[in-house]
């Protein structure tokens, strides 16, 4: 069964304290891995798409990387406005039109 596991479930950081969020996946064939940010009561906001091992994407303080088994979302010098739940999702080959399988997310809190 295709599965996505995110860790930690929650992460509290001080402003400026860099860290990484992990997303490990077990899938039959990875089509793509996606990172989203979700604020309370809102829809997932797209951050990055990664398609192959070794790929990296960067946007402001965020950098996403991908290996054959996991992805990391690195947050450099976070600010309070980076506080949100970060969701990892995968799409797999095999008959689907790209429906996403989500992890439970990592809730990030950044204190000033």
């Amino acid at each position: 069964e295709d599965q996505v596991t995110q860790s930690p479930e929650a992460l509290r950081l001080q402003e400026g304290e860099s860290s990484s969020l992990n997303c490990s996946y077990t899938v039959s064939g990875l089509r793509g891995l996606f990172w989203y940010r979700q604020d309370p009561g809102k829809g997932p906001e797209f951050l990055f798409t990664l398609y192959s091992a070794g790929e990296e994407k960067e946007k402001e303080r965020l950098k996403a990387t991908l290996t054959k088994k996991e992805s990391f979302l690195h947050i450099t010098a976070p600010k309070p406005e980076d506080s949100a739940t970060y969701l990892c999702a995968v799409s797999v080959y095999g008959g689907s039109q790209g429906n996403l399988i989500f992890g439970k997310g990592t809730k990030l809190s950044v204190k000033p």
């Binding site: 793509g32 829809g43 969701l87 039109q97 790209g98």
Partner: protein, 112 residues
Amino acid sequence: EPEVTQTPSHQVTQMGQEVILRCVPISNHLYFYWYRQILGQKVEFLVSFYNNEISEKSEIFDDQFSVERPDGSNFTLKIRSTKLEDSAMYFCASSVDPGTQYFGPGTRLLVL
């Protein structure tokens, strides 16, 4: 910047009533999706829609659910006879291809 819109933002209904949730996907997108998120749980795939027909549906998407693209812009999810366990946030998403999906802000459905 184009975005997915959803109406209503909140819907309260009585058990057994029919509800229709509406979405306007991004205009040049061809793939449409519905997901739901029960409070505190992960985002779950319901159904994907392409070329005016359902591409794939999950076990959650039983005979009580239906989707429709009544015109060139709207995409709807109908729940025929709501149950208490249908209470959740419902998200519409769209994509150009089976890749990056963009999500709407969601409709919060409460079944009493």
